[in-house]
Amino acid sequence: MEMFIMMLTIFVLAVFVGVEIINKVPPTLHTPLMSGTNAISGIVVVGAIISSGGSEHTTVLSTVLGVVAIALATINIVAGFMVTDRMLNMFKKK
């Protein structure tokens, strides 16, 4: 339970940080903001990697699920960062 309260604390504080900085993003950049946060939400790849690492408590099924999860999360990361970069470079040009 202590662990849970710790995690909840971190969650709530991080939401406040998020609200503070994202409120400052101008409407012009809202589409790249969305695709950029899409990429960041690919962080779940971390969990997928740990599930597919073949340690002794994994099963065939859990490894399969983990590998599919890695593939999906990597799509998110790679496509998200690349397409955001593509868009932002268009804004940079004068």
Binding site: I21, N23, S41, V46, I49, H57, L72, M87, L88
Partner: protein, 469 residues
């Protein structure tokens, strides 16, 4: 090692925060995005160092598949299709979180058999939440993509979907209670059943939402995809996931509330109110009667003459501009006008297009400098000094009924006051109503001219006519 790994997650989280901070100006945004990417790399390396990772074969396979698909997608996608792309990526993220929760459940069974794991209530609840949010994000986003592509129309029986949603939620609560309090580790069938139920729930939550409200839905699903990641973080006890997921969740919620405000609707009304066109829309004959004989048609040549004498011109882009891929033609016409000393601006309504910032990206692609893109509140007082406003495929966001007709379904929605300009030129394919399903009073006003046709074609004709003058 454990300390080093957690330190890595912390660094990654800091880089994500700084990366988003970079997005506050277009100048620093590219670097911000790169910082986030570096943060992701650090997080992945930290995960690879985890003591649970003993074999890299399958990890490499997964990464290679994902990276190839992702890179191809990012290179090929047209800027006009960004809403579909973002919606699809939301779904993919939700799917990944769902699978991580399921895989963790299976592993926890093994660990419990070895005597290394005892299920707690908060673990059980986190697993259920992860499944719920992940599955809803996955199928909800797929439906949203279908609606954005126009393959799935507005639902007629909103009540049915609402009933299914209520029933599914009730069943879920009972199932979750049994799972958490009775037997968390021998409930394989229950878990599979709940996953299926949550997948159905996602479909039924998005189906009743009208096509006009897609900007809200895409933003909300963006938020869900972050929350799905955060709940996976609760399952795994990983702070990196929790921080990052909550950042994304906050971002989506803010965009959602901006979109709702720009339409003067509450989130509940958008989610459960059904499509505006279905409830308040007019029939075709009513629509025809509204416009009957009152619309003044004009031609590209006439508009070119108007533009020739204008000092200040404002372009008002909408979804029709994206459909016609007319952003480059718009830019070309604007360039010609600027060369003649005309003051040119672009008025951007917050819900123009199909997602937040959609118009800005399209115009940036056509190399329009971003300081010419003006937000609604700044441009509205300027319309009275504008000689010609050119409305390109926008409809409900320039309907004066929103400001003065309390009976109108869009009453109270902030609009661009184009009707205050000396002349308004509306480029539109026909007189069919917009998303709200109502006729546009703008078209029958004395200072309005309608040019019927595809936005790109009409703009090219105007460019040609202007050259001949």
């Amino acid at each position: 090692m454990e300390i080093l790994i957690n330190f890595g997650y912390l660094i990654a989280a800091i880089l994500f925060i700084l990366g988003i901070k970079g997005m506050t100006t277009p100048k620093t945004a590219v670097r911000g995005n790169q910082m986030s990417a570096v943060g992701m790399l650090i997080a992945v390396v930290a995960a690879l160092l985890d003591y649970n990772v003993v074999d890299y074969t399958w990890i490499i396979v997964g990464v290679l598949i994902g990276a190839t698909l992702g890179a191809v997608l990012a290179k090929k996608i047209a800027m006009t299709d960004m809403p579909e792309m973002v919606a699809a990526l939301n779904g993919v993220g939700g799917g990944a979180s769902l699978l991580v929760a399921a895989a963790n459940y299976l592993e926890s069974q093994q660990l419990a058999e070895m005597g290394k794991f005892v299920p707690t209530y908060d673990w059980s609840i986190a697993v259920i939440l992860s499944i719920l949010i992940g599955a809803v994000t996955l199928t909800g986003s797929l439906v949203a993509v279908g609606k954005l592509k126009g393959k799935i129309g507005d639902a007629k029986n909103v009540g049915l979907f609402k009933a299914i949603v209520k029933l599914a939620l009730l069943t879920l609560i009972v199932g979750a209670g049994y799972f958490a309090y009775v037997d968390p580790l021998h409930s394989d069938l229950l878990i599979v059943g709940m996953i299926v139920l949550c997948l159905i729930l996602g479909v039924c939550l998005v189906m009743p939402i009208g096509g006009a409200d897609m900007p809200v839905v895409v933003s909300l699903l963006n938020s869900y995809s972050g929350l799905a990641g955060a709940s996976a973080g609760f399952v795994l006890g990983n702070n990196g996931l929790i921080i990052t997921g909550s950042l994304v969740g906050a971002s989506g919620i803010i965009l959602t509330s901006i979109m709702c405000k720009a339409m003067n609707r509450s989130l509940t009304n958008v989610l459960f109110g059904g499509s505006m066109a279905a409830s308040a829309g007019v029939s075709k004959s009513e629509n025809d009667a509204f416009y009957d004989g009152k619309v003044k048609y004009s031609s590209a040549d006439e508009v070119a003459m108007l533009l020739d004498n204008a000092q200040k011109v404002v372009f008002v882009p909408g979804y029709g501009l994206a459909v016609a891929q007319a952003q480059h033609a718009t830019r070309e016409l604007a360039n010609m006008l600027e060369a003649r000393g005309v003051d040119v601006k672009y008025a951007i309504h917050p819900v123009a297009g199909r997602m937040p910032g959609h118009m800005n990206v399209l115009l940036a692609e056509a190399e329009v400098p971003y300081d010419q893109l003006v937000e609604m509140d700044t441009i509205n007082p300027e319309f009275s000094q504008t000689d010609v406003s050119i409305v390109l495929g926008a409809n409900d966001v320039v309907n004066p009924a929103a400001a003065k007709d309390p009976q109108s379904p869009i009453y109270g929605m902030p609009i661009l006051n184009v009707h205050n300009s000396k002349t308004v030129v509306v480029v539109k394919r026909g007189l069919s109503p917009g998303f709200a399903g109502i006729p546009n009073e703008l078209l029958i006003r004395d200072n309005s001219l309608m040019v019927a046709g595809d936005a790109k074609k009409v703009l090219q004709d105007m460019i040609g006519a202007l050259k001949d003058l």
